[in-house]
Amino acid sequence: MGPALSAQYAAVFGRPWPVWGAAILVATVNVFLFAFDRPWTASDGLRNWGDWVLRGLGLVHRPDLIAPWLYSGSLLNLGVLFGGLAAALLSREFAIRVPPRGELAKGTGGGLLMGVGAMLAFGCNVGGFFSAMSALSLSGFGMMLGLGLGAFLGLRYLLWELEHRPGWSTGAARVYGAPSTTGLSRQPLAGLVVVLALLVLPFFYARQGFHTQGVFLLFGVVFGVIFQRSRFCLVRAFREPFMTGDAEHTRAAALALAVSTLGFAILKFVDLKDKGDWVFPGAGIGALAGGTIFGVGMTLAGGCGAGSIWRAGEGQVKLWAALVGFALGASLMRLALVQTGALTKLGWAVFLPSVLGWGAAVVLTLLVVVAWAVAATWNEDSRAVTVLD
């Protein structure tokens, strides 16, 4: 490779991308995805996987269940998984990382809590919070509060465990297939093969008559690559102000929310998308309790709806456990909510412009995200809510 190409390769795959730039990219791609069909959420695709497991075990009768390779949410998730894998390989960061048993248990338990929380809040932190808030749904604001409280509670638990039960998560971690630190690695070549396969697959889908399905997969790949290269993380956005005080990811998340909100508002205002799209009947106990449970889960697992998937793609076995827990937790919780009739009692569907008018709804949303970023930045100096020094 020539020096100029080599330098560009290093810029894209040798160094982490700026987090704020990744945030703008994620928000922009999410607006494109909404314009194309629907915004991003990880939970419905994971529930689709869990539903297939329950169906396979004979626990549910679902002849209408869409195959994971055809369902939009599942394809987005598969794209994120393989996009994360491709980016990790191209960056020589892929390895099968097996954590100690206690960490695996936290991954599974955290995943279960995320699955349960996502069903109560009508989406994970991406769909129920990020995309819902962008869609000017009051439920997104409720889940934001819950996620903050949950991240705090989850962190308090982790610190308690560290202090009082240090043996639970100790033990040797094992790493397989890591690239050699000296000499050439085959990982970039393998990454190139994965990228080529991912680029060919949409053409294969199109030949079978499933044009949109292939595009969903590509959207997922783009998300996976952006997240893996930048490590932009909504868990860090909520947890870090309480843990180390660092607010870089909080500011980035707020920036992403502002961009995404403006994009979604334009699409809805000019009637390109329905006003009720992504406005969930969870404004109330569903968003608050669901957000809190999800916030605890994502802190224990070390990855949210999106982060668990792309981290699983780069070989982190703890997040494989989180995905299994998430999928099963979501399927079982949804089943329980439907069978008990609780699904219709989780809150109200409130589209903010219907209550406040368009201008006030957009300004209020932007004020909330700016206040979040400013409060977290102020906390960097004051350390008002930070527990680690």
């Binding site: 990382r97 971690a173 890591a178 630190t181 490590r231 993380c233």
Partner: protein, 49 residues
Amino acid sequence: VPPGGRLDVLATDPGAHADLDAFTRRNGHTIVERSESEGVQRFVVQRAR
């Protein structure tokens, strides 16, 4: 760890460097050594005095 003392940190997450960097920068600690072998990163962090 007493002020000025050092802590060995082993990590397998590729994001560990960015995480520790943010933590030490924010809290006045210093990463005085960093190495990687077989997918395991090792950091020596010196606590602020």
